[in-house]
Amino acid sequence: MGRYIVRRLLAAIPVLIGLSILLFAYIRILPGDPCVAILGQHRTPEACAALISNLGLDRPLWEQYITYLLKTLSGDLGSSVVNSQPFLAEFLTRFPGTVELTFGALLFAIGVGIPLGRLAARKVGGWVDGLITGVSLFGVSIPVFVLGLALVVIFGVILGWLPTQGRIDARARFDATSGILLIDTLLAGRLDLFVDVVRHLILPSIALGSIPLAIIARITRASVIEVANEDYVRTARSKGLKEKTVDSRHVMRNAWLPVTTVVGLQVGGLLGGAVLTETVFVWNGVGRWVVDAIQNHDYPIVQSTILVFAVIFLVVNLVVDVGYALLNPKIRYQ
């Protein structure tokens, strides 16, 4: 098991190196004078000089790369060309918002997707199956921002049931320690605000979670159907086990395996989709910040966000793979 984890960690190293080369190149292949390309309208002679020395643009390429790598590893992820704020500080104040949104979406996708998939698998070809297949088809075919806008119109504007903007009532005052409001409101003992946070979270989570939900429901359905046809499930029935035991111990224990992998893979899409969702719901997270950065041509911010999101994605999938190995004795003992 330990060796498996080490092997998976080692396998991530070339990807991380490749990622660093790609993003190193990103800033340097911008067309035209780097000063013009990167600083654009924020260009001043001083800023230009600072940028050149900061990125080491006057040094040989390999030296620039080593510098970039060392800086990145030491946590210096560059700074905004607009307001010179370091990336990491600003990122850390924004990130909890994105974490909260991603968590909500994943919870929705898993919490609804897996039961739907199991339900569909139980009655293959029936009308429930057809309905669920239709819902999941709709889920992968509707863009998050279209679904988001539709939810805003229906539940916010027409019905007025749920808030459609922001993460919490703007008038709320309490101590924000972690930045993750679901935790902070509880720590502050403000159940009313916790409920408010949850209410704010519902619509964005549904919008962002719809694609992963559809994918998770599909893979759960396919996986359960496949496992249900396995010989060992027939063996389990032939032994006279109760149907409940057959389902939980023999079907689901095996059906989880592909589902866990797919859940891990959804995190990438969720982080990407958060950019759009945060824009629709005026959600204070990394996504909206990046959109501002795009509009301001703030390349270092875009560059480092991509890096951090990619690393998070890799780490999450590493964790998922280890979880997969724990569920699957064949890998555990290799």
């Binding site: 010989d231 063996t235 032939s238 032994k239 086990l241 109760k242 035991t245 023999h250 224990r253 004795p329």
Partner: protein, 355 residues
């Protein structure tokens, strides 16, 4: 039924619904099984052997497969109409099964221990410790070395032969009256096959377990079975004691089967003879004899009328359906004459038979 058999199958009909229509998988199969007896079932793949067994214990793939007629009685108790929960109690404890592929028949993510213990606990109110002790005994009985430590293993840590031993241990865990072994050695190496068969025979004899042994390997049946049913296109077409059947096969299909196995003693002249043609498409309802298209002995009557199982020599005395004195029955209007068996083709007959 005058004297009750352990298991009585009567006119069993099973259909599968598919997109191309209903598949007539089993068309009126009847047979009896006496306590302690080993009944061999032979026939090529798709002839309904396995489907019949799954139908007996109510494990036909849902929702496509359905028993559409006939009855299955275990000690006089009708199984086809039982509620799922009652049937569940029969499965494993009264009728147990062993399947063909030991590589896929055990759950890969559960330890052998869990799979044995859950079987015992599904039917007996015993503690986990007691079930575990029983599991150790069972593993020892099927010849697994270090049963106590092997109990902690996962299926993939066992070889194919060992896994099939575990399957046998699991099937016999509750001392069932009937064991259905569906091609139990087909997936194993030839050298392992003999060991597993020996074990199976020893354990069932010790326990007096009646066995239905399905195989397409007639060599296995010759050594293991007391009686043999030959199945073709979802029906039993010949049945008798193993000795009778191997010595005096009467159905053209049985003759073909016997002639297509290699024999070391060279009795059939050493030449392997395939049966020409292929089995009928079971999607169409059978009309006439199902073997008609491939049969060298066929007559006009065979095309339109379906022959029923009847004693070979025209029905002297009552038909015995089980045990060593079982009547040799065949479903054929024009059975193979003894002299024709070696030739594998009809010979001109004196008195001008219905050719």
């Amino acid at each position: 039924m005058s004297d009750q058999h352990l298991l009585e199958v009567r006119d069993l009909v099973v259909r599968f619904r598919t997109h191309d229509g209903a598949v007539h998988a089993v068309n009126g199969v009847s047979f009896d099984l006496a306590a302690g007896e080993t009944l061999g079932v032979a026939g090529e793949s798709g002839c309904g052997k396995s489907v019949t067994n799954l139908a007996i214990v109510g494990l036909l793939p849902k929702p496509a497969g359905r028993v559409e007629g006939g009855s299955v009685k275990l000690q006089g108790r009708e199984l086809t109409t039982l509620k799922e929960e009652e049937l569940r109690q029969v499965r494993g404890s009264e009728i147990a099964m062993i399947f063909q592929d030991p590589m896929t028949s055990l759950n890969p993510v559960l330890r052998i221990e869990e799979q044995l213990v859950e079987t015992i606990q599904a039917h007996r109110e015993v503690t986990k410790e007691a079930a575990r002790a029983r599991a150790i005994d069972l593993l020892a009985a099927v010849g697994v070395a270090n049963p106590e430590s092997r109990l902690r293993s996962y299926p993939h840590e066992f070889s194919g032969g060992m896994r099939q031993r575990v399957m046998i241990a699991m099937a016999l865990a509750l001392e069932p009256r009937v064991l259905i072994a569906d091609e139990p050695t087909t997936a194993l190496d030839v050298t392992i096959q003999a060991q597993v068969l020996d074990l199976l025979r020893r354990l069932t004899e010790e326990r007096g377990t009646a066995t239905i042994l399905v195989t397409h390997d007639l060599g296995v049946l010759a050594g293991m079975a007391d009686r043999v049913n030959v199945m073709y296109a979802g029906a039993v077409i010949e049945s008798g004691t193993t000795d009778d059947l191997f010595a005096k096969p009467r159905h053209p299909y049985t003759v073909g089967l016997l002639r297509s196995i290699p024999r070391l003693d060279g009795e059939t002249g050493g030449k392997l003879v395939p049966i020409e043609g292929r089995p009928p498409d079971l999607i169409e309802a059978p009309v006439g004899c199902s073997f008609y298209a491939r049969c060298a002995w066929r007559t006009d009557r065979c095309a339109t009328e379906t022959p029923a199982l009847a004693p070979i020599d025209g029905g002297k005395g009552p038909i015995v359906t089980s045990g060593p004195a079982a009547t040799h029955v065949v479903a054929c209007f024009n059975p193979v004459a003894p002299a024709e068996v070696a030739e594998g083709r009809p010979l001109p007959r004196a008195g001008g038979a219905t050719q």
